[in-house]
Amino acid sequence: MSKQVVEKLKGKFGASVLAEVEHRGETTVTVEAGEIVEICTYLRDDCGFNFLSDLCGVDYLGRTPRFEVVYNLYNISTKSRLRVKILVAEQDPRVDTVSGVWSTANWHERECWDLMGISFNNHPDLRRILLPEDWQGHPLRKDYPVQGPDREPYQGRLS
């Protein structure tokens, strides 16, 4: 099912579909970050992915581009899943919001901004959500120490 969707997506957006990976029966497509809103709108309206399960950022420190934003989509009528990813550069990480496509993206994107430091253009309400407003830094980045900033590293064993 997701295979046909990827074919459809390739037919419509061609060069914007950068990669397609299959792992444990799940399909992941990497697409051009600049076209994420058009692609998501197309997936919602023409492929039936009406439910955004989850949206999050991943930090691949050391890779270029450094960040990824991951959209886990679900189609309630055909019961199929699809994962869409975009790559985001380290310098001034920002992407367009999809909260106009699925309202549920609103809080997910706020969380992604708060914890990962990826900002979203045209977001209706981009504030920190879990951490206090005056917090410095974005804790889920790989270069943010687990014990927090300005603290001695934990000397015991974590694992």
Binding site: E26, V70, T104, L131, S159
Partner: protein, 391 residues
Amino acid sequence: MATETMTINMGPQHPSTHGVLQLILELDGEIVVKATPHIGFLHRGTEKLSEHRTYHQVIPLTDRLDYLAPMSNNLGYVLAVEKLLGITDKIPERANTIRVIMAELTRIKSHLVWLATHALDIGAMTVFLYCFREREEIIDIYEKISGARMTSNYFRVGGLSEDLPEGLVDDIRKFTESMEGHLETYEGLLTGNKIWQKRTIDVGYISGEDAVDIGLSGPALRASGVDWDLRRDDPYCNYSDFDFEVPTRTEGDTFARYKVRLDEMRQSARIILQGLDKLKPGPILADCPQVCLPPKKDVVNTIEGLIHHFKIVTEGFKPEEGEIYVGIEAPKGELGYYLVSDGSPHPYRMKIRPPSFVNLQALPQMVEGVLLADVIATIGTLDIVLGEIDR
């Protein structure tokens, strides 16, 4: 005459916000003009912590997300790790059936706390006491199985930590069979009650379309007419072998969500009884020595068993590079785990999709334009737990 709105603060210490939720309410008289939730007071950095632990060491962290349904969180996590490892098919039948039984007991347990606190918020105290009486019995079952009343940490990657203790099957059966009578008691106190109906019918309405758009899942979505349940539509464990119905309603109000959850408890009881009948002796851990801890008797009796245990505890196991997403039907909705592995013994990234986080997002649009008193009913009906919202 000049009028102005009043801004009031509700929570984070208000009892009917079900934890540390803060709502900033802008009121025009008694009508809510705007509601802004503030969350994060219970943020413990579960996702960050998990990146520094082995896969097995993350299981106790998941207990503390939705602390009213710890086994559902455990289940979602272990299923995700099993998928990442590619050993989903190797889980023994007995382990799967026990997982289903415990997940459904957990659903009843979670729904009992929802009904108890929801009814208490609206003013029906008797129901609160009855529900907690029944919940206590489930907690006793938890304690017999895992030694802990709330943070069970019972499931393992590959199966279970231990088999059910002797005689527990009868305890579970006795409890489950009594549940139908208890549910009738609750319904007798509430369903036909004029006050209950006035406080719930047409309160906190959300249409099916809006609910999907905002990401509602679980009973809250099914009460708005969207027939979607991951246990049936994307079966995990061995749910496909069970015979159950998915209760739905179309009204989309607080009363509909109340009825859906009560019917869900009946279906859960049905699933548990089928599971108990299905239960046959057999292994409770997959035959995957690279992943699963060896049986305790080998660890204490043989040097090979001890080394095996030691290696898995200190080093963990290394799933191959890749990423997966697993969603399960937790009591409150779709609980998702997105796991990325870089081939090391620690999750490279773990994103939890907590149902309460997404469901709470719907609160502002459900309460804007209604009376202040209905905000309390709407928070209750969404069944949120701040432990998993803040993570």
